[in-house]
Symmetry: C2
Subunit: 210 residues, 2 copies
């Protein structure tokens, strides 16, 4: 299909498609003339993935480029490619380091057998959370995180099953990216709905009805 | 303290503090002269909360204003105030409605006894996730969300306990806001660490070693 048709079928404006092409988020189309190129269903599928990462995942263009590099670079063992893809879809908030929080986070991870490098965005994220919690006077927030351990393992077990069910390495990595980005959104939403369920049965009597 | 000291103690630039004052995110200081005002520890605490919502939660200024309105408006029953606060910290991605996804999401919520209004951002979020999943050819993503139900309830149970342990309604609402915003970040990070744990033990043999 030509770029006009590509735009129509994807619902993405031509100018945005051209921007993604320039940024290397979409492979070039097949040249059919000096100013013309043809796009196929592979382009369409890739474009949808880009939009999901940007619109639902809130990823930056640089992060999307990195994720796609991982999706395409499936020469490494699956576990390594999955790790690479995962890092690129994880952002850590920019918060100044706090030594106590840093130490707490390391011990917290070690106690769970979760080993990762110093600059892993998941570790940096937990440090940022604990730093902020301490600044807000929530000194016991670490206990809260402990309570999240098993639920996170349950979620992760299901995530990994979902990924390994897919047939090729490329499919598995794409599945991880989609599942993680969409899953984060869904988990945050479901957590709130479940909070309301728990709060509806508890809050009125125990705290507000005083 | 004067605004210079307020800035120094909070680490937030004077220009940003003035911006928050203009936007109503911080209550005005006590006037001490034509161009001078005094700020207290209440201001400092509120400023830290604003920064956490912006930096860690990624909330917009408008959303922060709404959250703070809920934190301060503690005349209503606790359950209602919690609901209000929660809506304001929940953002749904802007994705076009898909009728099938809409129907799926409603049934999914109803099956769990999670009732909410049509415009609830948590419902809108799940519709957006299911719409995007379908577009990417992940037609069975709903099964994945089903697997998240009990983990989300476990997390929510712990969240509600954390909130109800706090002494005043204002404290409880602040606890919910902090716990939810920081908790979302922590959960996303812990989910990834747990995924690596599960993947390390499964992926190399089952899929990549072919």
């Amino acid at each position: 299909m030509r770029i006009g048709e590509f735009s129509k079928r994807s619902g993405v404006p031509v100018s945005t498609i051209k921007y993604y092409l320039r940024e290397g988020l979409l492979p070039a189309g097949e040249r059919t003339g000096p100013n013309q190129a043809r796009y196929d269903d592979g382009h369409l599928r890739r474009l949808k993935l880009v939009r999901a990462l940007v619109d639902v995942g809130g990823l930056s263009i640089a992060a999307v480029r990195e994720v796609l590099g991982a999706v395409d670079g499936s020469e490494e063992p699956l576990h390594d490619v999955l790790g690479l893809a995962q890092r690129s879809i994880t952002t850590a908030p920019a918060v100044e380091r706090d030594e106590v929080a840093e130490q707490q986070a390391r011990e917290f991870l070690a106690a769970r057998g979760w080993m990762c490098s110093d600059d892993n965005p998941a570790l940096r994220s937990i440090v940022a959370v604990l730093t902020t919690a301490r600044e807000l006077g929530h000194d016991h927030f670490l206990d809260q995180l402990s309570a999240y351990t098993e639920p996170c393992r349950d979620v992760a077990r299901s995530d990994v099953e979902y990924v390994l069910r897919r047939s090729s390495v490329e499919d598995a990595v794409e599945g991880l990216v989609v599942g993680t980005v969409l899953g984060d959104r869904a988990l945050a939403a479901m957590r709130r709905l479940a909070q309301m369920e728990m709060s509806a049965s508890r809050a009125p009597r125990e705290a507000a009805g005083e």
